[in-house]
């Protein structure tokens, strides 16, 4: 099916239409109207549809910034959290910055209920939250990913009492990963923006009924994948930071390189974003996305942003050149006031843009007294840019290679993630990427369509689905928090193979349940197996498995 990808960015809304064969049929760029994001989507969509010949049905892929903006700007429904922390770190020390009401009850690390909730206490906490102005609620327990029964019971108490919260988010639904404070923040934000996403979904559905040519809608996620519209209303928090993810997806879609390990460098006017692809897949953040100062459990791509770009400020310091992190405005060649790295490239004939003589004049002015000629300054700027970029790339890899690991084998034989090629995006990439790649000793590739890559990325994105499966054979339980599943199992029948198979089957069934027909391969991405020993006898096994649909992007030409 043909796909329209729309990415609502900070400045522009990019849209792209790609054919069944992955050929770009149309691209549109319109300015984003921040007061009416929907209008921006509609305009882009209509322009694309107008250019779209024939009766072919289309799927719409949307990267929405509504929840992201609401979080950053402190908007959305007033929300509060009822937390079930049990003993541990003092909840006050987390300093959440939003209302959290703490109630009794505790689940331990094995998922055993050590003490129950008190329904009266939960109810009075929820009432208090309501009276304090909250209209959306999150209920979050420590270790609820191991046992969701306290969260479910608390929700039932609130609902039966007739409190009309517009949304009740339960912590365990959002992630199978550990991290009580992150779960609290994720659930809180999710509750806060759910109303916004629901409203947005309603408009999109109307848009679909007006344009029957749109056969389906998928929403982009922070991990570069997509999810269904209905799912996005339950877990709107997953949509945050999908813009940057779209740009990396675009590079996966457009790259011709066959190396499994690459570094993706997106050079913009103000910043350069560095992302890492290892083993053919983008590397994700260790803990989860960070947004508006909140640490979340949202699976997000790992990108490092540095203050270096084509429009960076050039300062002369000790007869050397320092670039950024400030942006000075457009290049002198385009009528700007000051010489920028772009001007250095234009002046030296490395790029053709605007008026070269203006670039040279600006460089001459800057060079005065410190450099013998504008040529030597321009050369120094280019060198400084490349050096800074290479240093940043190196630091990214050093950081990733020093991520703590917990097994002897990972210390002794760490996975090889070092890049074998550099993939460049963005307008200045053509100048700087070949030079940087030469310094890194790597082959390189500059991707086409740098002007509207995010639209292509949105169009090329594929669904992602991932589940965490926790099996505890001593307690004869299998738990999949994201599905709210707690299932009795027979210990004697359950081994590691069985656990693996269960993980794959549940992931596949879940994906199919979401209407994903073209399910790509299900893979096990994390796996742990431990004995449970009591008094020198093994009494059970614990398996922690994470299974996912292999992420990736459609190839685009």
């Amino acid at each position: 099916m043909r796909v329209i990808g729309i990415d609502v960015g900070g400045t522009n809304t990019d849209a792209a239409l790609i054919s069944d064969e992955g050929i770009v049929l149309a691209m549109v760029k319109t300015p984003t109207d921040h007061d009416d994001i929907l209008c921006s989507v509609r305009t882009a969509l209509e322009e694309i549809i107008a250019s779209h010949k024939g009766p072919f049905p289309m799927e719409l892929h949307l990267s929405t910034t509504l929840p992201t903006n609401a979080i950053v700007e402190g908007e959305g429904d007033p929300a509060a959290v009822v937390a079930i922390p049990g003993p541990g770190m003092n909840l006050l020390d987390y300093d959440f910055g939003f209302p959290v009401y703490s109630v009794k009850g505790y689940v331990d690390h094995r998922g055993r209920v050590a003490s129950d909730i008190d329904p009266d206490e939960v109810l009075s906490a929820a009432r208090q939250a309501w009276n304090d102005g909250a209209r959306a609620l999150a209920i979050v327990g420590k270790f609820s990913q191991r046992n969701n029964s306290l969260e479910l019971a608390a929700k039932q108490v609130v609902e039966q009492a007739g409190l009309k919260f517009s949304q009740i988010t339960l912590g365990h639904q959002l992630s199978g990963r550990h991290g009580f404070p992150r779960r609290i923040m994720t659930a809180y934000l999710n509750a806060r923006v759910a109303g916004i996403q629901q409203e947005f979904a309603a408009v999109i559905e109307r848009l679909m009924s007006e344009n029957p040519i749109i056969a389906g809608v998928r929403i982009l996620k922070a991990d570069g994948g997509t999810m269904g519209l209905a799912e996005s209303c339950v877990r709107p928090i997953e949509t945050i930071l999908s813009g940057p993810a779209a740009s990396l997806t675009a590079s996966l879609a457009l790259s011709r390189r066959t190396e499994a390990n690459t570094v993706v460098v997106d050079i913009g006017g103000t910043t350069t974003d560095i992302a890492v692809i290892a083993g053919g897949e983008p590397v994700c953040q260790r803990g989860g996305a960070v947004i508006g100062g909140f640490n979340t459990l949202v699976r997000a791509l790992y990108t490092v942003s540095i203050g270096l770009g084509g429009d960076s400020e050039v300062r002369i310091h000790d007869s050397g050149v320092v670039l950024g992190p400030r942006r000075v405005g457009k290049a002198a060649a385009l009528g700007g006031a000051e010489a920028t790295p772009t001007d250095a490239a234009v002046a030296l004939g490395l790029a053709e843009l605007g008026q070269r003589d203006k670039a040279i004049a600006a460089l001459k002015k800057k060079a005065a007294g410190a450099f013998a000629s504008w040529e030597s300054l321009a050369q120094a700027i280019i060198e400084a840019f490349v050096l800074r970029l290479c240093t940043a790339v190196d630091e990214v890899y050093r950081t990733l290679e020093n991520v703590p690991v917990y097994t002897v084998s990972e210390i002794l034989a760490p996975p090889d993630i070092r890049p074998r090629a550099v993939i460049g995006l963005g307008a200045p990439a053509g100048v700087f990427i070949p030079l940087a790649a030469e310094q890194l000793g790597l082959p390189w590739e500059i991707l086409p369509y740098h002007a509207g890559a995010n639209g292509i990325g949105a169009a090329a994105a594929r669904p992602t689905v991932s589940l965490s499966v926790h099996v505890d054979t001593e307690q004869e339980q299998m738990i999949i928090p994201e599905l709210g599943l707690r299932k009795q199992i027979k210990q004697a029948l359950f081994d590691q193979k069985q656990a693996r198979r269960a993980a794959v089957e549940h992931t596949l069934a879940y994906a199919q349940g979401l209407g994903l027909e073209e399910c790509s391969e299900i893979q096990i991405v994390e796996e742990e197996a431990f004995n449970v020993v009591r008094g020198f006898h093994t009494v059970g096994r614990i398996f922690n498995i994470r299974a996912q649909m292999r992420p990736g992007a459609r190839r685009v030409r």
Partner: protein
């Protein structure tokens, strides 16, 4: 977001793929539940708590402490090298002022490993703290004063052995009375060698001692001694088997008690030792230690099965604890009045003959140790060590060690002894260890079969 009042470097290395045997207390999942608890509490997201990845230690730092027979390569596996590297990294982080304090939360443990290593004893092969301390001394010079406070329920006999005659180290071990628990040592009479008499302090506690007793020892003995001795660095060898739920010991300490102990001690570096209540104690004790190091509130930290009864000591415990404390205090206060010859005799050497059992590897070692009684330095040392059993067959080695700040005579005598011992033909190998010059020799050198 939460913010630490003191910054903490955490070297967490649970070695999920290492065990002594799959059902041994020192097995893969020992720190699994601790990992779950640390992650769930979100401790790694706290501003000021930083996690680091350990490195693999090379031979040299290990040789600064141990004589591994026949070689470091043969005795020390990769997991041990990572635990050693992690401990050294903890010290480096503090020495380089990258953090205010550090916690090497890692395994395998080390405090039962003696200077001479024929195999593993008490689940330990090499001594993480001792190697770390020697590494610190290598960086800062021999004048630094380091206090090691070992709060494992088992006597830290290995650490005691290594620093027994070392005037730069104060070693305090709190443990369950050796008459009731492995390794059966650690009595108040073990007070240090001729050059460091009084610097080894043992506080054997009766079974059943809980928060009240241990915190009494901290307040009335450990803290005053530290205040007087003024160490440059305080290291806590943090075994967690004083916990009321530990399967191998009989003590009554709680996670809250461990946190309180850490708050009082304010150690610069904490190194994990034993503790085998892996579900009921370790997750909570370790979270408590990290929170206490970071200066965060520990008052809501409690084991799920905690009841006030858990902490109640048997009635007879407190009087015994108080007796031990007053006896050890008396010893401490009068340590300079003791005449050396009253303890070590009037000869020119201090001689010690011991039989050492390696319970983990089923080896028996017979050791004859002779330390020169020298007025100018802490004296060179000669050890004859004969070991048999386990999978090592039979071996007989001689060892010569030269202390930090050795006098010229002692170094000369040690060098001569090293030459002479090689000519005797009685020994499979002769070792020479000179910390100050960082020189470690062995004749004949051990080569792995197949190696050049």
């Amino acid at each position: 977001m939460a913010k630490a009042k003191r910054s903490v470097g955490l070297i967490f290395f649970p070695a999920f793929d290492w065990c002594i045997t799959p059902d041994h207390p020192e097995r893969e999942e020992r720190l699994l539940y601790t990992r779950d608890q640390i992650m769930e509490e979100g401790l790694l997201d706290i501003a000021g708590i930083y996690e680091y990845r350990p490195y693999v230690a090379e031979d040299k730092p290990i040789q600064r402490v141990h004589i591994c027979v026949p070689s470091v390569a043969r005795r020390v596996s990769e997991p041990h090298r990572i635990a050693v590297g992690g401990s050294m990294l903890a010290a480096d982080l503090v020495l380089d002022n990258k953090v205010d304090c550090a916690f090497a939360l890692l395994r395998p443990p080390g405090h039962h490993a003696n200077r001479v290593v024929h195999g593993a004893r008490g689940f330990c092969t090499v001594n993480n703290e001792a190697i770390m301390v020697e590494h610190m001394r290598r960086r800062l010079g021999p004048s630094i004063r380091v206090a090691i406070v070992d709060t494992d329920a088992h006597h830290a006999d290995g650490t005691q052995d290594i620093f027994y005659n070392d005037p730069g180290i104060l070693h305090i071990s709190l443990h369950q009375d050796g008459r009731t628990l492995y390794p059966g040592t650690g009595f108040v009479t073990e007070r240090g060698g001729p050059a460091a008499y009084g610097n080894t302090i043992n506080v054997p506690l009766p079974p059943g001692t809980g928060d009240e007793g241990i915190l009494y020892v901290m307040e009335n003995l450990v803290m005053p001694i530290l205040e007087e001795w003024k160490p440059d660095y305080i290291i806590n060898a943090a075994g967690q088997d004083n916990h009321y739920s530990d399967p191998l010991t009989n003590m009554n300490f709680s996670a809250g008690g461990y946190a309180r102990l850490t708050e009082m001690l304010r150690p610069d570096i904490v190194v994990l030792e034993g503790g085998y209540s892996i579900e009921g104690a370790l997750p909570y004790v370790n979270v408590g230690i990290i929170l206490a190091l970071a200066g965060l509130d520990c008052s809501s930290l409690r084991e799920p099965d905690w009841k006030p009864d858990c902490l109640r000591q048997p009635q007879h415990v407190m009087p015994i604890v108080k007796n031990v404390v007053s006896e050890v205090r008396r010893q401490w206060e009068t340590r300079h009045q003791v005449k050396r010859e009253d303890v070590f005799g009037r000869g020119t050497n201090y001689v010690r003959d011991r039989s050492i059992f390696y319970d983990t590897d089923q080896i028996v070692e017979k050791q004859h140790e002779r330390i020169k009684l020298c007025n100018d330095c802490s004296g060179w040392r000669e050890i004859y060590s004969q070991a048999a059993g386990g999978r090592i067959g039979h071996t007989q080695v001689a060892i010569v060690t030269v202390p930090w700040l050795a006098c010229r005579n002692c170094r000369r005598e040690a060098v001569e002894a090293y030459e002479r011992l090689q000519t005797l033909g009685r020994f499979d190998q002769v070792f020479y260890q000179d910390c100050e010059r960082d020189e470690y020799l062995c004749a004949p050198d051990h080569h792995e079969p197949g190696a050049l």
